[in-house]
Symmetry: C2
Subunit: 211 residues, 2 copies
């Protein structure tokens, strides 16, 4: 498979973890967001939104990180299941994933930050406050949910890593980049530490990407 | 089942359509976002983010509209399937859903609009431009994708309505509320019109909600 990737994109980071968990070999096709390569007409034919990631599998191009992860789950259900078996538990894991992928990450995406500075003349410090605000609001809700008995185990759900974990770890990487104080989230830190001990997560880290 | 609902919430509107397509009887529990009821401690025990919708099914509380729709799909796979059978097609339907649920809707959510006016002193006209911008950017990508041969049929995918359609129709309702010109999106209009002819969609309309 081929992954249109940017090392620092947390949506691409999710898919890199999923590919590693599923033990799928893939080639990285770097799309440099800082240089604006996502807006080149050639890339927009691949991904009309001009966002990463996109995954090419035997001619089919797949978009949107969670849709790609669900695809990998359906293609390789037996290798490191990303979702539990029980229907309510599956909904719980998907809910954690979507709190991150819908309600935290997109509000802090590069295109939104660019709009704030370029169209609304928002200064650097106010942009950092914006970034931190949405992470802190989301992390507070996640910390509350994940300490509940509905979410047992070493990871977000149970003793094996899954869809929620591969969303959480990249979001925590972003949080640190923008100076969010992580002390109020001991449960998130515990889960992150358990994830980071696994090669599937460590190998997907932005530092290990081709640029 | 019981749905924590606000008539104008497009995320709740998605779930109302899904419940109707699945022919699941449910009670609406109104949470008035304009009156700030989503931030009452009692509601935050149900949904720690203070967002609607949430769905209660036999004691389990489920969060996040797409996770809820996937739950309904797994609970009632035989009634109006929300996803196609083929794995690549499923990924395509989920991608359309997530372009709306991740990249359009959350950036225009009430809490974000409130932050723009209350913390960044953004005026009413600039807020409307913000709202329109993210819809127009997303709709352009959707229009391009949905006119492609990967997305055949009367609806977003095929000749029966599914997950992507129940995301699209509420987003188009929002777009009109904020004065977005819909003329550039004939494919979206065609699909919307096919959806609106179905009682599952018409009955879920905000005008038909208890307040």
């Amino acid at each position: 498979m081929e992954l249109y990737n940017y090392f620092r994109s947390s949506a691409a980071y999710r898919v890199r973890i999923a590919l590693n968990l599923k033990e799928v070999a893939y080639t990285q096709l770097p799309v440099n967001l800082q240089r604006g390569e996502q807006n080149h007409p050639q890339y927009k034919q691949v991904q009309p939104q001009g966002l990463v990631p996109a995954l090419r599998d035997q001619g089919a191009v797949l978009l949107q990180s969670l849709a790609i992860c669900e695809y990998l789950e359906e293609a390789y259900p037996e290798r490191s299941p990303l979702l539990p078996v029980n229907r309510v538990d599956r909904a719980r894991v998907r809910a954690i994933s979507e709190i991150i992928a819908c309600d935290i990450h997109p509000v802090n995406n590069l295109r939104v930050l660019n709009y704030l500075s370029q169209c609304l003349d928002i200064g650097e410090q106010e942009k950092i406050s914006w970034y931190q605000h949405w992470i802190e609001e989301g992390f507070l809700a996640l910390e509350q949910l994940l300490t509940g008995e509905e979410y047992p185990g070493k990871f977000c759900f149970g003793d094996t890593p899954g869809l929620a974990d591969l969303c959480l770890v990249p979001q925590m990487f972003n949080a640190r980049r923008f100076g969010v104080d992580m002390a109020p989230y001991p449960e998130l830190l515990r889960i992150e530490s358990n994830c980071q001990s696994l090669p599937a997560f460590a190998d997907a880290h932005p530092d290990n990407c081709s640029h």
